[in-house]
């Protein structure tokens, strides 16, 4: 077998130009498939990263009425009791949960101001001790909330840089007062995302999305929530899973525990399953690209026919050689294997070159369009094996023709 392989390689190398042109169909076919597959994988990795967050495996569990999240601005909500500290502990102790936080919030505020300047766009959160850790925020100036703030209902607040830029342009907000619904709160610290939770920003769209998310955040202790809003307002939760893969499972388990607080039939806690959502989006892109793979498959078919054509020519050209081998005592099977090996080695080489070219093409696509590419090792292995199969399938007919040549006619041929 090894000898067959070396002989085939020698034969292929003795006609470099012809061999290359014969391989070209397979090279182009495999290269297109590899570049498409790499692009799909890159896009999918990207969707997962964008939607689910790089390293931040947070699941949001929010109170829903029917299919929409409850708008807490509507006023008092009955049928939901507050999440007990027992429930909180059980959620934090679930498998694969790293941390969990329970909070009240308003997505858009119009009641926060400082010295007459209104925070026109931002969110306010009433937070527990786990919020900063769960969401990946760090206090970079001042202090975080402490036990005394909770016990004494100290009216203190943390701001992110977006909020402080609006409320205190060009000034140091630490120790200054902001008003929330007319109640004065003292700014005790400034927060920012810890760097490991920074989303990947590579183009303008990413940047804008990121800026919207980080537009104005005001945090106050959950104990103070009742000062400006309602004391018995139900809380939502963020639960951080250890890995992205575990997000769905963790979300479902936490959702179940939170649901115990709900006695009303039209209300329910729902885990926002970003992983599922990401998978749906991935399938959408994959199915469009699968069509492209079929198109590339046609070029492989054409390549295979080209290989068959050249192998038939090669058999005719080498009729005397075949006759000689047969007269020296080679069985038909040996001739068949010789040509089949040659054809398979030819297309396998084409496959390998195709993979290399595909990877280069994928890099070029990535540079031009900004889409990331991912290298899929199984796809590469399949591509090479598949190109070998093409060689065997399309080499079969010429090889059978070679094996069945009559040695006398073959030797007589000039």
């Amino acid at each position: 077998m090894k000898e067959n392989f070396l002989e085939a390689l020698q034969e292929i190398l003795s006609h470099k130009m012809r061999s290359f042109l014969t391989m070209l169909g397979v090279i182009i076919g495999i290269a297109s498939i590899i570049s498409i597959v790499s692009t799909i994988k890159g896009t999918n990795d990207r969707i997962m990263q964008d939607l689910v967050g790089k390293g931040n495996n947070n699941v949001t569990i929010a109170l829903y009425r029917g299919n929409t999240p409850v708008d807490f601005e509507e006023g008092s909500i009955s049928g939901v009791s507050l999440v007990s500290s027992g429930q909180m502990e059980r959620i934090r102790e679930l498998d694969h949960v790293e941390d969990a936080t329970f909070f009240n919030h308003r997505e858009s505020v119009y009641n926060v101001s400082a010295g007459g300047v209104l925070l026109d766009s931002g969110a306010i959160y009433g937070i527990d001790d786990h919020f900063l850790n769960t969401c990946g925020y760090a206090v970079y100036r001042g202090r975080r909330f402490v036990e005394a703030d909770r016990i004494n209902h100290n009216k203190v607040a943390l701001l992110d840089s977006a909020a402080s830029d609006v409320l205190f342009p060009g000034r140091d907000p630490l120790g200054k007062t902001i008003e929330i619904s007319g109640e004065p709160f003292i700014v005790v610290g400034l927060i920012q995302k810890e760097s490991e939770y920074q989303p990947a920003i590579e183009n303008l769209t990413d940047y804008e999305t990121y800026m919207e998310q980080s537009y104005g955040m005001v945090l106050i202790p959950s104990a103070d929530w009742g000062i400006t809003y309602l004391f018995d307002e139900p809380q939502n939760a963020y639960v951080r899973a250890d890995t992205t893969e575990n997000m769905s499972a963790v979300g479902k388990a936490a959702q179940k525990i939170l649901q115990e607080s709900v006695s009303s039939s039209d209300l329910s806690y729902v885990a926002e399953d970003l992983v599922e959502e990401a998978k749906e989006q991935q399938q959408l892109t994959a199915s469009t690209n699968r069509l492209l793979i079929w198109v590339a498959g046609i070029s492989l078919l054409v390549g295979g026919i080209g290989v068959m054509n050249i192998m038939l020519v090669s058999v005719t050209e080498r009729t005397r050689e075949i006759g000689l081998r047969r007269s020296l005592g080679a069985r038909k099977r040996r001739i068949l294997l010789q040509f089949l090996t040659e054809s398979a080695v030819l297309t396998s080489l084409g496959g390998i070159f195709g993979v290399l070219m595909g990877l280069i093409m994928a890099q070029v696509i990535s540079k031009l369009s900004g889409v990331e590419v991912g290298i899929s090792l199984p796809a590469i292995a399949i591509a090479v094996v598949f190109s070998m199969v093409i060689g065997i399938v399309f080499g079969l007919l010429p090889s059978i023709k070679a094996a069945n040549l009559n040695p006398i006619d073959a030797l007589r041929r000039e």
């Binding site: 000898e3 020296l328 005592g329 080679a330 069985r331 038909k332």
Partner: protein, 244 residues
């Protein structure tokens, strides 16, 4: 002591279809070759020499009659059996050498060994030995186009002899050579025959034929010889039974 019989052809006919007609190329061939014989078959072109050669070389099968090779009736052999027989018991030397151009002399000689699935290392050793024997130890890594005609034919002889065949078949072995290298090849044949190799040679050349121990003439598909041990006379009436 009677020498062992190697090739016996008895009442052999060979027909080829040509359109609607059937052409009798060989008629009533009788031939008896024994171990150690050196036979030359001469005859004009078109007389059926090559067809006879193909039959003797087990490249083709007889239309009718019997062919016994080394004690076995090969007229009913399958293609694989014939291939194995050619590999192990028959060596071919052709007028136009039939070396593979992209292979070195050594690799050309190795070919039958690789068909016999002999390990690579042993192949090389045996091929080197065989090339030494034909005086080409300094030409082993040369390709055919770097060799003279005589050298090419000696490579071909080394290849034919590599598996120590029972019989060496040569079809016009000097036909493409100048007289000096032709003589060299003929010397080699004589040497091989002295060492015990049975040789059957087809040739136009009377001088070449004269070097053989026994001679037969092919004419119009009929083989004849004064040497009745080589070409047994058929009894009268026999052979006319064949429908043509």
């Amino acid at each position: 002591m009677e020498a062992k019989q190697i090739l016996l052809m008895k009442d052999v006919y060979k027909d080829f279809p040509q359109g609607d007609l059937t052409v009798n190329v060989l008629k009533h061939i009788n031939l008896n070759v024994s171990e150690g014989d050196y036979v030359a078959i001469t005859g004009p072109s078109g007389s059926g020499k090559t067809t006879l050669m193909n039959l003797m070389g087990c490249l083709d099968t007889v239309t009718s009659g019997k062919m016994i090779f080394d004690g076995e009736d090969v007229s009913t052999y399958t293609d694989n059996q014939l291939s194995d027989l050619r590999l192990k018991k028959i060596g071919f030397v052709f007028q136009t050498f039939e070396l593979l151009g992209q292979k070195t002399a050594l690799k050309n000689v190795c070919m039958p060994l690789s068909f016999a699935d002999i390990p690579k290392k042993e192949q090389i050793e045996r091929a080197e030995e065989a090339l030494e024997k034909v005086g080409l130890s300094d030409r082993m890594d040369f390709r055919p186009n770097q060799l003279s005609g005589g050298q090419k034919q000696r490579v071909a002889i080394a290849r034919a002899m590599i598996l120590k065949p029972r019989i060496l078949l040569a079809d016009e072995p000097t036909g493409a050579l100048d007289s000096a290298s032709g003589a060299q090849v003929m010397d080699l044949f004589s040497k091989l025959n002295e060492e015990g190799t049975t040789i059957i040679m087809i040739t136009h050349d009377r001088d070449v034929a004269s070097r053989a121990k026994r001679r037969a003439l092919m004419k119009d598909g009929i083989l004849s010889s004064e040497d009745t041990a080589l070409v047994p006379l058929h009894r009268s009436g026999e052979g006319d039974e064949h429908e043509s």
